[in-house]
Symmetry: C2
Amino acid sequence: MKIAVDAMGGDHAPEHPVAGAILAARELGAEVLLVGQENRIQDALRRHSSAPDVSIVHADDVIGMDEPPATALRRKRNSSIHIAAKMLRDGEVEGFVSAGNTGAIMVIVKLYVGTINGVDRPALAVILPSRRGRTVLIDVGANIDPKSHQLVEFGVMGSLFAQTILGLSNPRVGLLSIGDEASKGTGLVRSAHSALEVSPLNFLGNVEARDIYSGNADVVVSDGFTGNVVLKTSEAVVETMLHLLREEFSKSRLNMVGARIARSAFTSYRGRVHYAEFGGAPLLGARGLSVICHGRSSARAIMNGIRVTMEYGRHRVNDRIEEMLAGLVLDPNHERKSQ
Amino acid sequence: MKIAVDAMGGDHAPEHPVAGAILAARELGAEVLLVGQENRIQDALRRHSSAPDVSIVHADDVIGMDEPPATALRRKRNSSIHIAAKMLRDGEVEGFVSAGNTGAIMVIVKLYVGTINGVDRPALAVILPSRRGRTVLIDVGANIDPKSHQLVEFGVMGSLFAQTILGLSNPRVGLLSIGDEASKGTGLVRSAHSALEVSPLNFLGNVEARDIYSGNADVVVSDGFTGNVVLKTSEAVVETMLHLLREEFSKSRLNMVGARIARSAFTSYRGRVHYAEFGGAPLLGARGLSVICHGRSSARAIMNGIRVTMEYGRHRVNDRIEEMLAGLVLDPNHERKSQ
């Protein structure tokens, strides 16, 4: 199984992506193609003694981390992301891992790589740390104003991802709202609730943000706007608490050991909340699998993204998503389904 | 200025509301009417030696903390909340403070108490702690599917609240979205952005969750669904981090002092994030002012709610909201305004 790795994506490109690819080749036996500016990739490779055999696919353009996705899409047609997306479309690779510009990756993959059967639009998932394990939150930004049938698709994709990649046997799927009752929430939530209720998913009903972190749900389905707000609120609160902690401990200089314990606990927690450091955020529903890692990903984080991509392919998750969606008929008003 | 206090609302009713009313009468010279079951209020009052003069308005029914708001609205017409709302409507009191069932208070106040001129629907605000001070987030649950002109009204109400109650001279108002650019967000966000841009508010444009906690905005405007999700996500992350902290420190038993420092810092932070412990959540836009305090409010938290209500009345905030909204013409499509 061949996997394209974006050598130009991330705050530490090409060093970290190249080092991650090497790690993955060594430790996981991954067959990696590094996509990006060849001379810079060669330079980075030379820093590794006895690097395993890693192929290079040259790409002229580099998309900046803060570049507007629409501009990047149009003006940087020879970017590493464009080229990797085309390879995914043409079946030359089965996966794509990048720590680059999230918006640009979503837009380019959505445009170039087709969706699998039964999926209307790809959705971005993240794996968040809960008290009991991990929770998949889907969508966190790929679909800002989705329809309710898409939320059912998100549920199916998230559930099969949790089953195969997180090893959960019958994932409990919740719908993000602001109260448990079916009547709570926006029009979209209420209509998705009806559709999910008659789906074959292990549907819990509406859940709230606390259920993500308590682990009361394994998969939490949301529109991309609200999901993105959940993610960014979580990051902001963690940052604020770390800041507060530093302030409090700096007031009591004697207690350096306590400070160290608390700080290390929270820094590791932050690493898990800042999702993409933790195996990356999979863009589910497009052909193959694209995994978006955090911009500041280490080599190991990139390797983890590659590992998720390999497991995804090995478990044939896309085939299973197609099979499950084929069993559902989501009518245009998304209120009924039949087997 | 007379203020009705719901003696039956909250996890510690009637003790805490009664004690809060007594504190407010003593320390703030507040003119408080305790609304609820007279015999229970009398019992609670007897526990205070030399209680100042506090009136009682009897109300037969008690609305439970978890009772569905719609049921409470219809079946408990003699509840303390119903009676206080009618007193507010009839001008018998200028404010209402309750630590009771948030949903029921919103529904009953919305139905019984009219809105002030220019306001379509009341909105629930909270005051969140930021690194620089405090940020007002509005709406956090009163309007699940609002129109864009309502978001402008929220901005006006939040801005005047921040000016008068938080003492900010020219509050910076942001619109909650998932990116700074005007093009980012749902259809509602994009249309509210255009309307806010031409309003007389000190409008910053789109902001993200991190701007609430960094203090980059003083007022953050949102639909009630997303605002509620922000609030509940914040609470959930704080709880999870406190949990994590306890676990980490319990592993290293020697470091009890460090544990104590960290815990006290976070417990106080939690108190501020769990909004209504911190002066309560004002329901802006209805006549008078209703303030919803957290169910587990202490007597002091209730007194703080009463203090906010008094300041609100003293600054004639509702008149100022009406004046500012009178200067705006929000057409039915809410895309233009003229002076």
